[in-house]
Point group: C2
């Protein structure tokens, strides 16, 4: 894994770090993960804007030029891979209250692509851990990611690929690291941010690209019953792009939406290839 810090790319992730950093002690920070192909990050501006917005929601500022430099340097170094940018509020005194003048920490890592992850179909368990839509951590990509870690781990132990998370009200929210879309005929439905959902960059891409695939996309609340009775479903995230959902718990999809999912996956594949100037890995 490559590390960018203080303007330099290094081959090791071990670095001098203040262990009083609030990102480490209190999950007081944000991150962003983006896809790089052919040395070109996909939708870098949208990713950067969300990261800066997430930090602003927590009450600290990130230097956009530093983020751009980190992503650019790691994208050039990794060629095809995944870049993660992490920004914390920086070190602080004991206790919850942040310092009046925070000195945020910024670093980024890059790793090679995991072969076969893009467009891979997934079977989802329904997690007993609910997504907390009353918490800002449900709609901002913060370091408080342990619920997703535990939900994914329990799903894997039960033989599933990932977990579907409902919110406290019992409505469909998202995967542990992905947005979810249900397919009804030619209509795509994805839950609104207010239901405890991250405004994913690929989620926005799919909404914007739906018409190109002959589909209509709509944001509205979705119940688990509606989801399992849909023609099909898929997850979106910035690395896996479009992951067809083959089953939710014991309910398997019959394949009625396969053509629609293939159509949106094809459009997304084309947009990524065009933006990065490279064919996607098979």
């Amino acid at each position: 894994m490559l590390l960018w810090r203080d303007g330099a790319v290094r081959e090791t992730t071990v670095s001098a770090f203040d262990l009083a950093d609030r990102g480490l002690l209190l999950a007081d920070g944000v991150f962003d993960t983006l896809l790089v192909l052919n040395g070109q990050p996909f939708r870098a501006e949208a990713h950067r804007a969300r990261l800066l917005g997430d930090a602003a929601a927590l009450g600290f500022a990130i230097d956009p030029a530093a983020v751009e430099a980190a992503v650019g340097a790691l994208a050039a170094a990794i060629g095809d891979g995944v870049v993660r940018v992490t920004a914390t509020r920086g070190p602080g005194p004991r206790g919850l209250r942040p310092p009046a003048e925070p000195t945020p920490s910024l670093f980024a890592t890059a790793a090679p692509l995991t072969p076969g992850l893009m467009f891979r179909p997934v079977r989802l368990a329904i997690s007993p851990i609910r997504r907390n839509e009353t918490s800002p951590t449900s709609r901002h990509k913060t370091l408080a990611y342990l619920d997703s870690v535990m939900a994914a781990e329990a799903a894997a132990r039960a033989g599933f690929d990932d977990a579907l998370m409902l919110n406290a009200a019992g409505r469909v929210a998202c995967g542990t690291m992905a947005n979810v879309f249900a397919v009804f005929g030619r209509r795509l439905v994805t839950p609104p941010v207010a239901d405890g959902v991250l405004p994913g960059i690929l989620r926005a891409e799919v909404v914007a690209a739906a018409a190109e695939a002959g589909l209509a996309a709509e944001e509205r609340p979705l119940t688990p019953d509606e989801l399992v009775r849909a023609d099909g479903a898929f997850l979106t995230n910035s690395v896996r792009l479009v992951s067809p959902v083959t089953a939710v718990g014991t309910a398997a999809f019959a394949g009625a939406a396969d053509a629609a999912i293939a159509a949106i996956a094809g459009v997304v594949r084309g947009r990524v290839a065009k933006a990065c100037g490279a064919a996607l890995p098979a």
Copy 2:
């Protein structure tokens, strides 16, 4: 702030650290905070047992001898202060899934006591951020602490000392870093762990010490209405010990429970003084 790491106490918290550590990237870790007086940690065994149990709940092991060494070394160095032990699952590859063989990270810090914090009365805002009782992070002291950070910050901006957090079901849970007790005559009521509450060491101390103060303590669900109609309330945590609550939102307590709260605070003060062999700061 003093840092313990790898067996040594240092005067700086800056240290070589793997920035791929899952504690930093995903809040995948646990911590514990304990009070030290006269070089003696209060209830070190109970704190250590909870820390090890929290890590086990996340699926990784901590060496109890290393925790004991860290707390002992920092307690001796700080004299009167607060020691925080942090343990993470350690570094991992990209993504949510932990490595099959984790190599946990352990470090600890010590800071002097903040004068006047013990037994200080507090006014509480009711936070719009709910405590998620479906999440293991509600009953284990994990690094996913951002909800509490944001709830405390919003309360402070609104002129309160701390926030009261309700759970998703609308029942009383806790403060942002403290358990809560309501006082009804000579009865103390504190919400059960199942309602999204950390099993605090001071919470257990108060339950155990209640009879000594002429009080009866009970764990049961508590509604916000019951709380504001109680004779009084207090928070407990390992540093502040017993903090009388003077108001919840716009509802001030009339003082009917002042004698009961003073009685339990006095018993706790005596137990801490006895265990540490030192008078508490005024």
